[in-house]
Amino acid sequence: MTQELWGVFLNAALVNNFVLAYFLGICPFLGVSAKLDSAGRMGLAVTFVMLVASLCAFGINRLLGMIGAEYLSLISYIVVIASSVQLVEMFVRKTSPALFKQLGIFLPLITTNCAILAVALFQTQREYGLLEGLVFAFGAGMGFTLALVLMAGIRERLRLVDVPDVAQGMAITLVLAGILSLAFMGFAGMGASA
């Protein structure tokens, strides 16, 4: 069991990294990853919201399964995840202004991030249980953070060099992501025990 959970985690974080293998969440990826500090904090906030999303999706699947209305799942994910995140945001703002300053400002941004909904959808499609789902969400979030932070480091460095002007901005970031994506192929097959 732990072996399988470890496999789920590795798969989500490294082998099928959300950003580098599925292109998910690249809107903030292109926007935020230029600054190292915010990249790390954004990543943590995303991880947190992914965990919330995974919990919500598990509950929704159970509930809709009971009344036989699975076809409403997509619309329910969207609504429930968005409102849960909003609740969490309000809660954090009240209880811990410091934490809110660190992570909270990203929360509204994240709600419509495709990576979040993808956690819910993938987890459903792969029929993960509650624990597996949470591990998957955590792995996906860690993988997202890792990709974001690695990119941010390189992008900060790239500001000092002479990138050809047509390639500046989006293009060079995409090439960077492409190379990282190829580098992550080194992890292919990890966690899938023979």
Partner: protein
């Protein structure tokens, strides 16, 4: 960028502080790679010679096309080509070699701002691109060492027409490198031939001993920082020894791990590139350690037989962060800019 780093650091590595530094680095690196290149031609014959020659020529051509200023003189394109050629399977179709060289120089180097700019080693970019683009060719284009007739004829696959699959099947026994044999659970090569290099493998990666000598020469010439290969090889040695102690059936012994694959080539000649490695001493240790760990993890736990290239790429992605953590605190802001 870092006002105080070159006041505190006594490193001999050329940080572009003198105009002559680049050609000097290139010259000594080429000298250090000569023995292993000659050995490669002895081992694999014409195939090795053609691979290296095409890689160098293609790099020069790409440099000419992409580099607006005349940058051919600094020798960096020659070194890139040499290293790339040495890292490829000997019977790889030559058009693929040229393609990889072009990607290395155009994408890996000039897109990222030319010499001194690259975030990744251009050779690694070219190599990993070829690996991903033509996986079956890269997995099969091996040549048996010391084959008869190697001095006079090229493998038929080398001469495949550009962008086409070769007519002839790849000669080499598929998956014949010592590492892929280990991965498939077959018996490895004897330790001695592994270190001497009389085994199958990429053109210039087989002889761990000659690569080690070349690396030591670079250290002696103060061209590279000895801490990086020391940390890298040390961490590979440490982690493989630990794994081997846990399960000797499944994990190869320390000396096997050290002597096989592209480890020596990567540790001495690629990881040490001043453009992609950390600037501080502590950073160099951390960097080597991280890459070594990644090499062992990828080799032993992923689906890939060889992990050096991936580990090096990931390591260079870590460099900016390592630099940040280990940067000496400046005494006061903005001493000089």
């Amino acid at each position: 960028m870092m006002p105080s780093s070159h006041l505190l650091s006594l490193r001999g590595a050329p940080h572009l502080h003198a105009d002559s530094a680049v050609p000097r680095l290139m010259l000594h690196s080429v000298i250090a790679l000569l023995p292993v290149s000659v050995f490669a031609v002895f081992l694999f014959g014409l195939a090795a010679l053609a691979t290296v020659a095409v890689a160098i020529l293609a790099c020069l051509l790409a440099e000419r096309v992409c580099g607006p200023r005349s940058a051919l003189g600094d020798g960096s394109a020659i070194l890139t080509g040499l290293l790339l050629g040495l890292s490829l399977p000997p019977a790889l179709p030559l058009w693929m070699v040229a393609f990889g060289a072009f990607v290395a120089v155009a994408v890996g180097k000039h897109l990222f701002g030319g010499l001194g700019g690259p975030a990744f080693h251009p050779v690694l970019v070219g190599r990993v691109f070829l690996q991903a683009a033509f996986p079956s060719a890269m997995a099969q284009a091996w040549v048996a060492p010391l084959a008869a007739g190697r001095a006079t004829e090229l493998p038929a696959t080398s001469l495949a027409l550009p962008f086409l699959t070769p007519d002839a099947p790849y000669d080499g026994i598929s998956g014949a490198t010592p590492l892929s044999a280990l991965k498939a659970g077959e018996a490895g090569e004897p330790l001695l031939s592994l270190w001497l290099g009389t085994v199958s493998g990429s053109v210039g990666e087989t002889s761990a001993l000659l690569l080690l000598l070349g690396g030591l020469y670079l250290v002696y010439r103060r061209v590279i920082d000895w801490r990086i290969p020391a940390a890298l090889l040390g961490s590979v040695a440490l982690f493989s020894a630990v794994l081997h102690a846990i399960d000797p059936e499944r994990f190869p012994a320390m000396m096997t791990a050290l002597g096989s694959g592209a480890l020596m080539l990567g540790a001495w000649f690629l990881a040490t590139d001043p453009g992609i490695s950390p600037t501080t001493r502590r950073g160099a240790w951390l960097y080597g350690l991280a890459i070594g760990l990644l090499v062992v993890v990828i080799r032993q736990f992923s689906g890939q037989a060889e992990g050096v290239m991936y580990a090096l790429l990931l390591g260079s992605a870590l460099t900016p962060h390592i630099d940040r953590w280990t940067r000496p605190k400046p005494l006061s802001e903005g001493v000089e800019e």
